[in-house]
């Protein structure tokens, strides 16, 4: 493998890893801060991708179109969705055992899939990237790399940075961290935990939807895309340590690199490698790389 191919694969690995981080960070926040196993998190990714497809014509008609307008509308809708879901559904889950949460969120997956099928149908769709991101840049004399993939990495990095700043530097972030360590204590110190959970959940949904929307032009839009991303994101969350956003970041990049280079070097065993890595890491560190608390 020459240097240019290696560079291209590295860029692919980083882009895939960062995208996974976007979905997994929401999952780990909800898991760590709210103690909820949310199997439906992959569905939010799917909802995002379908929004990118289905909202574009609507936005074109009423708001003059544009990729970023669609993105913005999708984000607003997803925050509303997260807020309503937390209020109407997930708030019922807090007092329940993990296994019951698994069942109920599994039921939610079925509902999401069917509603998606009713609203948009079961076809596979492509989504166009905006024109100005459609080009590619030259790498060396032979290879090119699509600009849009670089754009995905850049967006994800910005979001990651933003999350770090919010969690580490703001009162809200402090409340989130306090709530995840000890819910009762945070509450008695004056944190409105119910509101906090609603905000965390809405943010988690928005992150997954954002990931789905910006991934749509690369991955296309198809039924069942949520299930695929869900399992790999659980792998990321567990490798990183449940509740740790930093852990999810490191783990997502690890998974990105192992998966991408696994496909290059061992085509037949590529699918297995990520899971072998996870098993190895958990046997070495049974609570993940960056367990909180």
């Amino acid at each position: 493998m020459d240097a240019t191919t290696f560079l291209v694969q590295c860029l692919n690995a980083v882009q895939y890893g960062l995208l996974l981080f976007l979905v997994a960070s929401g999952l780990t926040l909800i898991f760590g801060a709210m103690n909820i196993i949310n199997l439906a998190h992959g569905s939010f990714y799917m909802v995002g991708a379908y929004m990118a497809y289905a909202l574009a014509p609507w936005v074109g008609q009423y708001l003059g179109g544009g990729f970023f307008t669609t993105l913005f509308v999708g984000l607003v809708l997803s925050i509303a969705l997260g807020y309503v879901l937390e209020w109407g559904f997930f708030s019922l889950l807090y007092e329940r055992e993990h296994l019951q949460q698994v069942l109920m969120t599994y039921g939610l997956i079925l509902i999401f899939e069917e509603v998606r099928s009713i609203l948009v149908g079961d076809d596979v769709h492509g989504v166009a990237a905006p024109d100005w991101l459609n080009g590619s840049i030259a790498l060396g004399s032979l290879m090119t790399y699509p600009v849009y993939r670089l754009f995905i990495s850049a967006v994800c990095l910005l979001v990651a940075l933003g999350m770090y700043l919010v969690l580490a530097r703001t009162r809200l972030g402090m409340a989130v961290r306090a709530g995840s360590v000890n819910r009762e204590m945070a509450q008695s110190l004056g944190v409105n935990v119910n509101l906090l959970y609603r905000v965390v959940f809405a943010a988690g949904v928005a992150l997954a939807v954002l990931a789905g929307m910006i991934a749509a032009p690369v991955s296309s839009v198809y039924p069942g895309m949520g299930g695929q991303v869900l399992i790999i994101c659980f792998v990321v969350v567990v490798i990183g340590g449940i509740g740790s956003v930093r852990g999810a970041f490191v783990a997502a990049l690890l998974v990105g690199f192992v998966d991408t280079f696994g496909k290059v070097f061992f085509q037949e065993a590529a699918g297995v490698l990520v899971y072998v890595m996870m098993a190895a890491i958990l046997l070495w560190r049974p609570e993940g790389l960056f367990r909180q608390g």
């Binding site: 019951q100 509902i111 037949e268 996870m278």
Partner: protein, 331 residues
């Protein structure tokens, strides 16, 4: 979740015998389609029972149980690639042995973690098998593989029936389900079973009481895997076809759903759960009842699952106790 005292044993045995008799008589009243459907449920009930040993009796939530189901099925398929029939018993033993063999290292490694991490490690080991069958040419990859031969059911040289036919298969599955149920019930009443119950309730205390809990958990895991292999063998025999989706996490999730829906901690919960889950699916897919909406069966199933958890926290087996309590309160 505490067990009630054993005062109802006689009544429960009678009830169990009545249920078995009813299941045995069922094919007299049903068409082929319904018999095949119930046979499919019987197989899933064995699969669910095997997981119940882990989740309900021992408190180990495995999210990769389909791996052993699929391994049993693939072993069956790979042994039956010649047109010549092979012995039913030989293939059955091989399927269970393969599942058990893989379960041994998986149990030894994954039991070092606990809680959610255990759930994920078992999933990882299941995905491993999934990708082996999905991506490599061991058994025709993602297309799946057909059984060209059949397992020949024989007792001391006598071949009473063709196991791949609808009715014989139904009764073989029913007998095997009864055997598995009886085995697990006696296991639960044994010293070994009480130790597992103790591990579920409080592992620290069991260790303090002098039990080396790790080998107990490994034994439970391997037994559960072998029984899942048995279910996989039956499934492959009946379908005549195996594909990697049998090992996928959806399958592990579905069987977990069945036992939670039925009610954890009781063996009959697993059987009831398997019946409820498949029959609900069939019911919602029925276009005579739901018309065009039958295409949207997932929506109704999803809502039902959520409603069941909300209204029946102890599963379907907890329903009667729940009603009794409500009756007492009202009366």
């Amino acid at each position: 979740m505490t067990r009630p005292p054993m005062r109802n044993t006689a009544r429960q045995t009678t009830l169990a015998l009545l249920v078995v008799a009813a299941l045995a008589a069922l094919p007299l009243f049903l068409g082929t389609y319904e018999v095949d459907l119930v046979a499919k449920i019987l197989v899933l009930a064995i699969f669910a029972l095997s997981l119940e040993l882990l989740v309900g009796q021992t408190g180990l939530v495995s999210f990769g149980h389909a791996a052993f189901f699929g391994l049993g099925a693939y072993t069956t398929a790979l042994l039956l690639q010649d047109p010549d029939p092979r012995s039913f018993w030989l293939v059955l033993a091989a399927a269970m042995a393969m599942a058990g063999l893989y379960a041994l290292p998986v149990a030894a490694l994954s039991l070092r973690t606990r809680g959610v991490y255990f759930i994920m490690v078992t999933l990882a080991f299941a995905q491993l098998v999934y990708y082996v069958f999905h991506d490599t040419k061991v058994a025709k990859g993602s297309d799946g593989i057909y059984l060209t031969g059949i397992p020949q059911f024989s007792l001391a040289g006598w071949v009473p029936f063709d196991i791949t036919k609808s009715l014989p298969f139904y009764y073989v599955a029913l007998v095997l389900l009864c055997l598995v149920y009886a085995f697990l019930a006696s296991l639960g009443a044994s010293r070994f079973g009480r130790a597992l119950a103790g591990i579920r309730a409080n592992e620290q205390r069991m260790r303090a009481a002098g039990y080396a809990t790790y080998p107990y958990k490994i034994a439970a895991f391997v037994i559960a895997a072998m029984l899942a292999g048995l279910a996989g063998f039956l499934k492959a025999t009946r379908d005549g076809y195996v594909n990697p989706e049998m090992l996928a996490w959806h399958e592990s999730g579905a069987v977990l759903l069945m036992i939670i829906l039925g009610g954890l901690g009781r063996l009959r919960g697993a059987v009831i759960g398997a019946f409820a889950f498949v029959l609900l699916q069939e019911f919602f897919k029925n276009d005579a009842v739901f018309g065009d909406f039958a295409k949207r069966w997932q929506l109704l199933l999803g809502i039902t699952v959520i409603a069941c958890v909300l209204l029946l926290p102890h599963g379907l087996v907890g329903l009667s106790a729940q009603l009794r309590r409500r009756g007492n309160r009202d009366g």
